[in-house]
């Protein structure tokens, strides 16, 4: 079946999405974003709770706690 996701834009290949954070990083504030998260403050509020869309847990696939400081390029499980 034809799906929209085959478009390269969703994979960040166009380079338009300059967010430094892993695309699987989730926080409460993520759901209020009006665009890509560029700085920590875009994602963190006082609840300070992050999870990974891949594991749906508070740790990533590598067993390390999910946090904007960590969920960036360089972490093994990082997704662009």
């Amino acid at each position: 079946m034809e799906t929209n996701r085959e478009d390269g834009a969703a994979n960040g290949t166009t380079g338009l999405n300059k967010s430094p954070f892993c695309s699987k990083l989730r926080t409460k504030k993520y759901y209020f974003l009006n665009g890509p998260a560029m700085v920590e403050g875009d994602l963190l509020d006082a609840s300070n709770d992050c999870w990974c869309k891949e594991t749906m847990q508070r740790v990533g696939p590598d067993g390390v706690v999910v946090d904007p400081e960590d969920c960036q390029k360089g972490r093994g499980c990082y997704n662009g």
């Binding site: 799906t3 759901y31 009006n34 609840s47 300070n48 709770d49 749906m56 847990q57 390390v64 706690v65």
Partner: protein, 720 residues
């Protein structure tokens, strides 16, 4: 036909109070009848042909290597499949390790019990002490301390030098569970093929599209999320969670609808919590009540999450301070947002400290607070609010203002009363996310649709109210459709932003529809549109001529009219102040605390539905009473086992815990719509703790404020 008529800018303002029809007036929930008759269908209630029931098996230790023998579970009659949902080891107490799927809930429960689990214990830490010990196991491979931050202002040494009294104390607040009555989970309606419907108990309808399509291997466009009613979230239901992911995976494998709602014990283990906190404060005040210096050091206990904390000094203005906080990771479920994340924790420490300093210098508790709220524009709101609740609670007539009441049973006295105070701050306000569709057909139906969910705050009713007011219709004449991803984007319910995000967009869509209908009437009557207006459900044309709603709608194109509304900044603002006071009665024989009365005042702009606003504020105060007096997650720090993952020993307040409540809606400022979900949940615990000390002299510094602790405190006072 979709129309985008020009709108008159000054129409995008909330009408003056005398021109409001249902908004600003107590309005019944439109889904009330469905809820009181049991007809309201929650995710938990969805029943589908061929549906299977899934249940988690959880880890009994904080960290363990896991071996599973599924033979016995698979042999349980009715069990369809059993799968491991964890790698080799677990990282938190109660982590789901297997999922059992069966034809009936009974078989799923028996199957879950029959999964033979061999746990080989791994090193773990469940308390801050354990996590910070030199030889502590690495809870997080990056280190057990995260996000250490210090904020400093002024000259602390000079502040202490200027102080006449210094208080040093540690205030601790335990981990609280959201305790949603409907547990986390979803029903996945997938029967093979390329589409699915997800019924989820979440606080953001569109979260149901964030994960499930991947787990189901479907294109997101073919997945529909639905949350018509949900049984409480309080901040714990933003994502779909492990339960949502696993439910979708089971459905994909089996090609059958799956019902996976956590059982109560798993809910306690693995659906988040309010993080605990321990703050050590040293602070000094001069005789005039001004806090001259404050040094605070706080450990946030958010399990595998960062921990919520609003920081000190909370609300009050302190010139010289240093405030440090850090996350201390433990092998327990991560905290999640919980009604004003981090604020009750900070408020409890700050208000307690102020009380203790006030008694140390012999200052009236209200005067002490005023001394630390400067007379500037923002703080003066709190000054006014604090005075108001003090009047309302009976502070002026109260005998114990600058020293606590008596602690001895004597002369027939077995009870003593005290009063305490707390103040709060919150943001609220709207986000530009809601996309609302208004639709009118030739038969006169008015349908307003938006994908927003209703957590019990009354958002469904609000949609109908705001739209009805725009046309001068009755609320019941509007059909509000919400809670489905087929409608326009909503907003997650969090941070007290739902109303301020939603109402302006509903008003915008309705306003555009109003203009479109007026244009039709104008065209057909030959009048100038600017002279026409809606009133009492019809269009006033002038010269005593009124076109009824039905007649106006009959002018629509055959396919009806559709308008789209978006966020309108001018209709909302943010910033909620608040003050609360509590009066308690202490039983000097048993240590029992009866909260007799609470008073709340919050400025939250226009109260669109005052009845729902009062319910929200009272509900928040009830939660504060419950947290203050009862709630506490217990884990045996030595064995690492959970002690109270149930509603018997994790106590929630019941009817007998509830004080008389006075709610003052402080809407004098006319700041548009703001939102009131979190603010009233903040000041109550500090006020109750303060009232206890005020009544009998016992300062309980570690919540909950149990009678057992008060009794020990009374014994100590009597001995000293």
């Amino acid at each position: 036909m979709s129309t985008t008529p020009q709108q008159n800018a000054d129409e995008l303002a909330w009408p003056a109070p005398e021109k409001r029809r249902s908004i600003g007036k107590d309005t019944r929930r439109i889904d009330g009848p469905a809820k009181v008759t049991g007809m309201a269908r929650y995710s938990h209630d969805v029943r589908l042909p061929g549906m299977v029931y899934a249940r988690f098996v959880t880890c009994a230790l904080p960290a363990a290597a896991i071996e599973l023998d599924l033979t016995a579970a698979l042999a349980v009659p009715g069990v369809v499949e059993v799968v491991r949902v964890v790698g080799d080891s677990t990282l938190y107490l109660g982590q789901p390790i297997a999922a059992v799927t069966a034809e009936t809930p009974e078989a799923a429960a028996e199957g879950a019990r029959a999964v033979a689990v061999t746990l080989t214990e791994l090193p773990w830490a469940v308390t801050a002490e354990q996590s910070l010990a030199p030889d502590a196991p690495k809870v997080n491979p990056r280190g057990n301390i995260g996000r250490e931050r210090t904020q400093e202002e002024g000259d602390i040494e000079a502040g202490f030098a200027a102080s006449d009294a210094i208080v040093e104390a540690t205030y601790t607040i335990p981990i609280q569970h959201h305790s949603c009555l409907e547990t986390h989970g979803m029903v996945v309606d997938y029967r093979g093929g390329d589409s699915a419907v997800i019924h989820g108990s979440v606080q953001g309808t569109f979260a149901l599209l964030d994960g499930p399509p991947d787990s189901l291997g479907l294109d997101a466009s073919m997945v529909e999320g639905d949350v018509q009613h949900m049984g409480g979230g309080f901040g714990s239901k933003f994502g779909i969670g492990i339960e949502g992911k696993i439910a979708c995976e089971i459905a994909k494998r089996l090609g059958r609808p799956v019902h996976l709602m956590m059982d109560r014990e798993t809910e306690f283990h693995a659906s988040g919590n309010r993080s605990g906190n321990s703050v050590t404060i040293k602070a000094g005040a001069s005789k005039d009540g001004v806090i001259q210096a404050l040094v605070a050091d706080s450990n946030k206990l958010g399990g595998l999450s960062g921990g919520s904390y609003a920081g000190l000094p909370y609300v009050y203005s302190v010139a010289n301070f240093s405030s440090t906080s850090r996350s201390v990771y433990t092998n327990t479920d991560g905290n999640r947002a919980f009604r004003a994340p981090g604020h009750p924790q900070a408020s409890f420490g700050m208000e307690s400290l102020i009380d203790e300093l006030a008694y140390a210098i012999g200052k009236d508790l209200v005067e002490m607070r005023l001394a630390n709220l400067p007379d500037d524009e923002q703080h003066s709101v709190w000054r006014r609010q604090l005075r108001r609740v003090a009047d309302e609670i009976g502070w002026n007539e109260h005998p114990y203002k600058s020293a606590p009441g008596p602690h001895k049973v004597e002369g027939g006295r077995e009870y003593v009363e005290g009063i305490g105070f707390g103040i709060s701050v919150w943001g609220g306000g709207g986000y530009p996310s809601c996309e609302v569709e208004a639709r009118v057909d030739r038969e006169g139906s008015l349908i307003v649709s938006v994908g927003v969910q209703d957590l019990g705050t009354g958002s469904r009713t609000l949609v109908a109210m705001v739209a009805a007011d725009e046309f001068g219709l009755e609320v019941h004449q509007v059909t509000a459709r919400i809670g489905n991803t087929r409608f326009g984007n909503g907003v997650m319910s969090g941070g007290s932003v739902t109303t301020a995000s939603l109402a302006p967009a509903v008003k915008d869509a309705s306003n555009k529809m109003r203009a479109a209908l007026i244009a039709l009437v104008a065209t057909n009557t030959g009048k100038d549109a600017s002279a026409l207006s809606f009133a009492d459900g019809g269009v006033i044309v002038g010269d005593g001529l009124r076109v009824s709603w039905r007649d106006a709608c009959a002018l629509c194109p055959a396919g009806g009219l559709t308008t789209h509304g978006v966020f309108q900044k001018a209709l909302q603002s943010s910033g909620v102040h608040g003050a609360q006071a509590a009066r308690v009665r202490i039983d000097l024989v048993t240590g029992e605390v009866k909260v007799l009365k609470m008073v709340a005042i919050h400025d939250m702009g226009i109260a669109l539905n005052p009845m729902a606003v009062r319910s929200q504020i009272q509900g928040a105060m009830v939660q504060a009473v419950s947290y203050a007096l009862f709630e506490e997650r217990l884990i045996d720090a030595d064995l690492g086992i959970a002690l109270n993952p149930n509603f018997e020993s994790y106590r929630l307040a019941n009817v007998h815990s509830i004080p008389e409540m006075t709610v003052i809606i402080d809407d004098e400022d006319g700041r548009g719509v703001i939102g009131i979900g979190e603010p009233p949940a903040i000041p109550g615990i500090g006020a109750i703790a303060g009232a206890i000390q005020n009544a009998c002299g016992v300062r309980v510094r570690d919540m909950p404020l149990s009678p057992t602790k008060i009794l020990i405190g009374l014994e100590e006072l009597r001995r000293s």
